[in-house]
């Protein structure tokens, strides 16, 4: 028991790693915040585009979404960070991470948004257009507000998964929480920083998990 406390809950080691971990926290928060925003935006964009049903565009979007969803995020990240430089595109670790997370996350979000949009009966679109609203107005005012409510469970679940995936950026030397924790661990020869980082993530993500459960329960009871 004492061994556990000394190696995993050692406040001295934690204090010494403070600076490293704070850098990590800042990097991770920036990474997560930007990635979720961009991924959602990109996903929404793809979904709305798909719904507009331009015949030549749909196969492209479908192909993109299917291929990207079948590719693990870390593989995508490796491609961006290690392969692109060979043709002259050299992205810093942070932006490589953002790109990988947004491209991958966006594909998943687009499927979720698409499901929500398609769940709204055609009649809604027809009524709105009959009133004279443009396509964008119809989307913004009539369709999307209704769709969002339906898709809250998978939306939160996917956001949860995206945030969890952001830790892969540590593998391309981005000084995020995980990387900093591992650095701190070799410095202090103590596993407390790693435990602290795990707990930090739990602090952010456990509420999200409860939110998912809450939304799923709500759908189950109303359906």
């Amino acid at each position: 028991m004492n061994q556990i406390i000394e190696n995993f809950f050692n406040f001295e080691a934690l204090a010494r790693s403070q600076k490293l971990l704070l850098i990590g926290l800042e990097t991770t928060l920036r990474l997560i915040g930007l990635a979720v925003l961009l991924a959602m935006g990109f996903g929404l964009f793809l979904a709305v585009l798909r719904h507009a049903n331009r015949r030549w565009l749909n196969p492209l979007i479908i192909a993109y979404v299917d291929v990207v969803r079948a590719c693990p995020i870390i593989v995508l990240l490796m491609l961006i960070y290690y392969a692109l430089p060979f043709i002259g595109i050299r992205l810093p670790a942070f932006w490589a991470g953002i790109l990988a997370l947004s491209l991958n996350g966006g594909a998943f979000y687009s499927e979720i948004f698409r499901g929500g949009i398609e769940a709204i009966p055609r009649g809604q679109t027809e009524a709105a257009r009959s009133l004279g609203l443009t396509y964008m107005q119809t989307m913004r005012i009539v369709i999307l507000p209704q769709a969002i409510r339906i898709i809250l469970p998978p939306l939160t679940t996917n956001t949860l998964e995206l945030i969890k995936a952001s830790a892969v950026a540590s593998t391309v030397a981005l000084p995020d929480l995980l990387r900093q924790a591992l650095q701190a661990q070799s410095l202090t020869l103590n596993a407390t920083p790693l435990v602290a980082v795990l707990m930090l993530y739990l602090l952010i993500l456990l509420p999200l998990v409860q939110l998912v459960t809450f939304f799923e329960r709500r759908v189950k009871n109303s359906g």
């Binding site: 299917d66 079948a70 593989v75 969890k164 596993a191 456990l206």
Partner: protein
């Protein structure tokens, strides 16, 4: 940007051919780990779901067991895979527990999958109409026989779309284990890239991954459509 390099660096046939044996061994490792993770993950998840639904009615034991299982599930659902994996592989040695990359990966991802599986199985079991229980118990069937012959066959069927969804997600995530030097497909590809100073093996590996998962993703979509639910 040097687009002429795309052929030479991304789709270099010669390098891809030479890298193939390396990638093949990586693929085997990836598949091996995936199969074990799925087996253990589903098994543990099902057992936990059975314990949880089985004790749900009893007062004290039910509440304690329910709380513990929910804690287990929620903590695992909220843990980033790589952070958990790093903890298991780099942190546990401080307690004298030294796992190989294979076992560290298997344990971490099995645990994560078991959490998702438990939630899915539990939802499936709870979705079965009470009347089925009542009819079976009224015949004199024991709890176990009722579960085995009446409830589970129906519950598992409705759980399949969600289960396939999570299986695909977890097996994709297993590629993160390359970060702790598990010799899986991605790690071998990176190694090959180093040896040949050419990223074609990476593209090759990406293609293999997509070929592997594309049909699975399609299967999940098909099952979701056929058996309902927007997962």
């Amino acid at each position: 940007m040097d687009l002429s390099g795309i052929g030479r660096y991304f789709f270099n046939g010669e390098v891809m051919l030479k890298a193939l044996p390396l990638l093949a061994s990586g693929l085997v490792m990836t598949l091996k780990v995936s199969c074990v993770v799925i087996g253990i993950g589903f098994g543990v998840g099902l057992i936990l779901a059975l314990i949880r639904t089985g004790t749900a009615k009893t007062r004290v034991v039910g509440k304690v067991v329910g709380f513990l299982i929910r804690l287990y599930v929620d903590l695992l659902r909220a843990s980033p895979y790589l952070v958990l994996l790093s903890f298991v592989y780099f942190g546990l040695p401080f307690l004298g527990v030294n796992l190989s990359t294979f076992w560290a990966t298997v344990i971490t991802f099995s645990a994560c999958l078991s959490a998702f599986a438990e939630e899915t199985f539990r939802a499936g079991i709870e979705a079965i109409d009470r009347g089925q229980w009542e009819a079976a118990r009224s015949l004199g069937l024991s709890f176990f026989d009722t579960m085995r012959h009446i409830i589970l066959p129906q519950a598992i069927r409705i759980s399949i779309p969600a289960l396939t969804n999570w299986t695909v997600a977890i097996t994709k995530a297993i590629s993160m284990a390359s970060a702790i030097a598990l010799p899986d497909l991605l790690k071998q590809a990176r190694w090959a890239q180093g040896i040949f100073a050419n990223p074609s093996p990476l593209i090759e590996a990406a293609v293999i991954y997509v070929l592997l998962f594309f049909p699975l993703v399609k299967l999940t979509l098909f099952l979701e459509r056929k058996w309902g639910k927007l997962v």
